[in-house]
């Protein structure tokens, strides 16, 4: 038995009934309400305790929650990328590959790009769309594929179904596209995720921005991208943690939920999160704007290049999208 590596869910996410029930229910309508109920009844306490809390005055609840919240544990991760050996030269072959590859491969081509070399504005936000546009020159289909936001799907099988629908539609309506060869093949790639033990803890939301500034890019990936796949409610780890602080973080959580990582590089994500924390910490319920909206003198909301601290060192030009490996 090797001395390390045992898969586990985040603390508090191990109650099978709660997971199955809420994962099924939480997908569309009432997602935020269900998330809150899940976290209070399943993740951070039992049903009876919650009933008792709901009868308690609001101020007392906040104080109790704040006392009970465990520190946020910052982890980082490493992607080990692996060729699947499957490649596509035509749209028909791409369809066949999308049908056949393991789920993790789809996840990699939607999200793994964030951990690869990134530079320049990419018009398309996943590898499939990028290849369809750049190699098959089918911009119409690429646009549709790029609009597929993986966060909108309960799981990767549903995402696969949506992709296959798009590809089938295109193959049905444009027969020539089934056979035209791309300029370069598409290589289906998957990744193993190595998750490292926590290397830092954060006790209070006020401490988060400082930690965020020094956080490795892979920590952002783990807590915001991987969390959406790892946790039953597809929620990022930070929002889940802030839930424990009750209504004092409600505005901040709203702001965080409005951040769409699919459209951002990890450096841009960092900028948006920082802004959300700057504007949202310590504020209660308020009609907040999305991070960056209407803010002046910040990088939030800016499309294109963002000055940021690169994961390997000094400040550099980092931007979304990219022509990755």
């Amino acid at each position: 038995m090797p001395p390390f590596a045992f898969p586990r869910l985040q603390p508090g996410f191990s109650r099978p009934f709660g997971i199955a029930f809420f994962a099924r229910k939480a997908r569309w309508s009432g997602r935020e309400r269900l998330l809150k109920t899940f976290l209070t009844t399943v993740a951070f306490g039992g049903g009876e305790e919650q009933k008792e809390r709901s009868r308690t005055p609001e101020r007392k609840v906040i104080r109790m929650n704040a006392q009970a919240v465990m520190p946020f544990e910052v982890r980082s991760c490493e992607l080990v990328t692996i060729c699947t050996g499957i490649r596509a030269k035509t749209l028909g072959e791409l369809r066949e590959g999308v049908r056949a590859v393991p789920e993790g491969c789809l996840h990699y081509h939607f999200w793994g790009r964030l951990m690869r070399p990134q530079i320049g504005e990419s018009e398309f936000d996943n590898d499939f769309a990028g290849w369809v546009a750049g190699s098959l020159h089918d911009v119409t289909l690429a646009e549709r594929m790029s609009a597929v936001n993986p966060a909108d799907f309960a799981d990767l099988e549903e995402l696969r179904g949506a992709l296959l629908d798009l590809l089938d539609d295109r193959l049905d309506t444009e027969e020539s596209t089934a056979w035209s060869r791309g300029d370069a093949p598409f290589f289906f790639t998957r990744a193993q995720l190595l998750v490292f033990p926590p290397h830092r803890t954060i006790a209070r939301p006020e401490e988060f921005p400082e930690a965020l500034r020094g956080m490795d890019r892979s920590s952002l990936f783990y807590h915001f991208i991987d969390a959406a796949r790892r946790t039953p409610l597809h929620c990022d780890d930070v929002t889940a943690w802030l839930e424990g602080f009750g209504s004092s973080t409600e505005d901040l959580r709203k702001r965080l939920r409005r951040v769409d990582p699919y459209l951002l590089s990890l450096e841009e994500l960092r900028e948006y999160l920082l802004l959300a924390f700057e504007e949202g910490v310590g504020k209660g319920e308020a009609p907040g704007s999305a991070p960056g909206e209407g803010a002046s003198g910040t990088s939030g909301g800016a499309a294109g290049h963002v000055r940021g601290t690169s994961p390997e060192g000094a400040e550099g030009v980092v931007s979304r999208g990219g022509d990755g490996a």
């Binding site: 590596a5 990328t81 320049g120 290589f187 892979s218 030009v317």
Partner: protein, 414 residues
């Protein structure tokens, strides 16, 4: 923090070093052997010169062994190298006999070291039979392919594949370079060492002095290609591009090549280059010893534009070297150069001598843009192509090999 890693503190982000330490602790006490065909010359040797000490500092007992052979063996491996990159010239029975016999001799010599190792990395095709020829091996063996095997000579590849099948995994620089295998095929782009003599900062005086030693005028525009004298690096195409550019721009050209002990074809190509350059005092063909790293560093820093006009390329680390020195690079649109050069961001990718000439003229004309490209170039390399990233990747693969092929591995640090 170990001493060598400490030296990277000012260069890379602290969490990168923290990752490396985590991984190192997981592998502490394990033994690793790297095997390749030369200690001098070429990107593989340069990477190993830094990677091996770094791994040792992390507590991983790491050795670097080099196979030995006669000229006939290296002539075969050069043919093989070219065939993997698509050359039609195949291997005769006599050639495979030389290849196998030399590898058998090396296997006998290295068996006591490699058989007991927890991990063995065998680099490129030259020593590839070693795994099968060491049946008593105990650890995991990985074949590291640094070259472009995307369109190999099929007969030669079929021959090599039989040897590669005995490995526990392969590592390729890009997915394009990989061929289907029944074992895991990892993807790890190579990298440069920012602290090595070839890439460290130099005083301006040293740069000027070096240019002067070779009769290069530091006040006139200069383009440099640093590469082995190899047909796939297209040195003749570079001379053609220089001549086209010279019709409208003043320009000097340096073609600097090292000599690798495993590259017997180099002298033939060098002769052709010297013939093409003869009579032009502004073309400087420099045959540098394999350890002339500071000279290469100075040439790359003293130039206005760097060329790497390869028609086939394993990865082309000279591109990252130049980008690190804030130079825009004009590179062939092939292999790993595509990953390193983003058109108009940090250089240009070209397919022809005419294209290279056009971009040369552009960069010499638009100095401010060239300077901006240079700034982008260094930032891009810092993020993606430094050896710390490669070390992370390599260590992660070793951990993954120990843990099996599960998609998510939660790492416990003892």
């Amino acid at each position: 923090m170990t001493k060598l890693l400490e030296a990277f503190e000012g260069v890379v982000y602290p969490s990168v070093l923290s990752h490396i330490r985590h991984l190192g602790r997981l592998l502490e006490g394990k033994s690793v052997v790297h095997v390749n065909s030369t200690r001098l010359g070429g990107g593989v040797a340069e990477i190993l010169h830094r990677l091996v000490p770094l791994m040792n500092e992390l507590g991983i007992d790491t050795k670097w062994e080099v196979i030995t052979g006669e000229d006939a063996f290296f002539a075969v491996t050069k043919t093989m190298h070219n065939a993997v990159q698509g050359s039609e010239k195949g291997l005769s029975r006599e050639m495979t006999e030389v290849f196998e016999e030399t590898n058998r001799e090396n296997a006998r010599r290295l068996a006591p070291i490699v058989s007991e190792a927890d991990f063995v990395f065998v680099h490129d095709p030259q020593p590839v039979p070693l795994c099968a020829l060491c049946p008593e091996r105990k650890g995991k063996w990985l074949w590291r392919c640094h070259i472009d095997a995307s369109r190999p000579n099929r007969r030669v590849w079929a021959y090599l594949r039989n040897w590669i099948l005995s490995y526990d995994g392969s590592i390729f620089s890009l997915p394009e370079f990989a061929q289907p295998m029944p074992h895991p095929e990892y993807l790890v782009p190579p990298s440069i060492d920012p602290l090595s003599d070839k890439n460290c900062d130099l005083e301006p005086g040293e740069v000027t002095r070096t240019l002067g030693e070779f009769g290069i005028d530091p006040d006139r525009p200069l383009a440099v290609q640093v590469s082995r004298f190899d047909r796939f690096k297209d040195p003749l195409g570079v001379i053609e591009a220089y001549r086209l550019c010279r019709r409208s721009q003043d320009l000097q050209l340096v073609l600097a090549g090292g000599e690798a002990t495993d590259d017997p074809e180099g002298s033939v190509v060098l002769r052709d280059v010297l013939d093409a350059a003869s009579g032009d005092p502004d073309i400087h063909v420099l045959v540098l010893p394999a350890d002339a790293h500071r000279t290469i560093n100075a040439l790359q820093r003293g130039t206005d534009v760097v060329l790497q006009k390869s028609t086939k390329e394993g990865f082309g680390l000279t591109v990252s070297e130049a980008l690190w020195k804030e130079k825009p690079v004009i590179g062939g649109d092939t292999g790993g150069i595509r990953l390193q050069i983003i058109d108009r961001f940090n250089g240009f990718r070209v397919r022809t001598a005419e294209g290279a000439a056009l971009r040369l003229r552009y960069l010499l004309q638009h100095r401010a843009r060239a300077e901006r490209m240079g700034e982008n170039a260094r930032a891009y390399v810092r993020e993606n192509f430094l050896i710390t990233r490669q070390l992370r990747n390599v260590l992660a693969i070793l951990v993954a090999q120990l843990q099996g092929d599960r998609e998510r591995l939660e790492v416990f640090v003892p």
